[in-house]
């Protein structure tokens, strides 16, 4: 765990121009670390570069780490709020994010605030644990 955390911390420090001490496991990417959408792309590219090996490329599919285009799906979002189907989808697709507190809010604009440093570390661990 800590080796992956070190690497993720280094990546976030470079991508977000943040001090390493600010990058704690519970720090929210958009809240505490002020990440913007273009930074998410930077982070994805750096994770791919860092965790790829010649024998095993580390490739992230669109929307695999951060969910995308939520607003456009009327099954998942109605009047700016996640539906039950939307919540199910989020929980299934993003096992690396903790949605329990979000259940009472469900405002789609608040989804990105749920992403913490720990979400990324968990994501990388899960993905690396899948047999190649």
């Amino acid at each position: 765990m800590s080796e992956i955390f070190e690497s993720v911390r280094e990546i976030l420090a470079e991508a977000l121009g943040a001090d390493e001490d600010e990058i704690t496991l519970s720090a929210s990417l958009t809240g505490d670390l002020e990440a913007e959408s273009i930074d998410f792309l930077d982070i994805v590219f750096r994770l791919e570069k860092k965790f790829s090996t010649p024998e095993r490329p580390f490739k992230l599919e669109q929307g695999e780490l951060f969910p995308e285009n939520l607003m456009e799906n009327s099954e998942w979002v109605v009047d700016g709020k996640l539906t039950d189907a939307g919540m199910d989808m989020l929980r299934k697709r993003m096992p690396h994010v903790d949605f329990s507190a979000f259940d009472s809010d469900r405002d789609v604009n608040h989804v990105s605030e749920l992403f913490t440093v720990k979400s990324i570390v968990d994501f990388v661990e899960r993905k690396l644990a899948v047999p190649a």
Partner: protein, 171 residues
């Protein structure tokens, strides 16, 4: 032909590398303000670093755009880092060498290295570098739609490509 901060493409390796040069000329209007005489100091025309970055972005942006036949609207999203170790003066030439690091449906990351030729006999010397991240805006910014035609790769870009024999890259 207005906002063109590269003069000519000189090398191209598809999907990998693109090199362009720009000659800095005293005929460029802004140099007379950058910097004009004042406070007891004489005028000192030199190329603004922001325009060096624009030249780097145009070089790298063409490389990124060429991968998809210039169908994607490629916009500079983030200057991840940039440094310059010297200034560029009228009469000198800058050379931008862009390398493509990663590209996917959302965008691309590139590194551009700049060198300078002072034409005083020493050839090309290091000037600086920048890491530039581009966004394919049609695939991002959910909910925002852009005009159908590609307003990024305009006629001016086509002219530069044509001069290098690369117009065929448009699909």
């Amino acid at each position: 032909m207005r906002w063109m901060w590269i003069d000519r493409i000189v090398e191209f390796e598809p999907n990998q590398r693109l090199v362009a040069i720009k000659n800095v000329s005293l005929a460029e209007e802004h140099l007379h303000d950058h910097f004009a005489a004042g406070d007891g100091l004489p005028a000192l025309p030199l190329m603004p670093a922001t325009l060096l970055i624009e030249g780097m972005a145009q070089t790298a942006g063409i490389l990124v755009g060429s991968v998809g036949g210039f169908k994607e609207k490629v916009i500079l999203g983030k200057i991840t880092s940039a440094r310059f170790d010297a200034d560029v003066f009228p009469g000198q030439t800058v050379r931008y060498e862009a390398r493509l690091e990663r590209i996917d449906a959302h965008g691309a990351s590139t590194r551009v290295v700049v060198t300078r030729n002072t034409h005083a006999g020493d050839g090309w010397e290091p000037l600086g570098r920048a890491d530039l991240l581009f966004s394919h805006i049609d695939q991002n910014l959910a909910g925002v739609t852009f005009p159908k035609e590609n307003f990024v790769f305009s006629e001016t870009f086509r002219t530069v490509l044509r001069a290098a024999g690369l117009e065929g890259l448009y699909s």
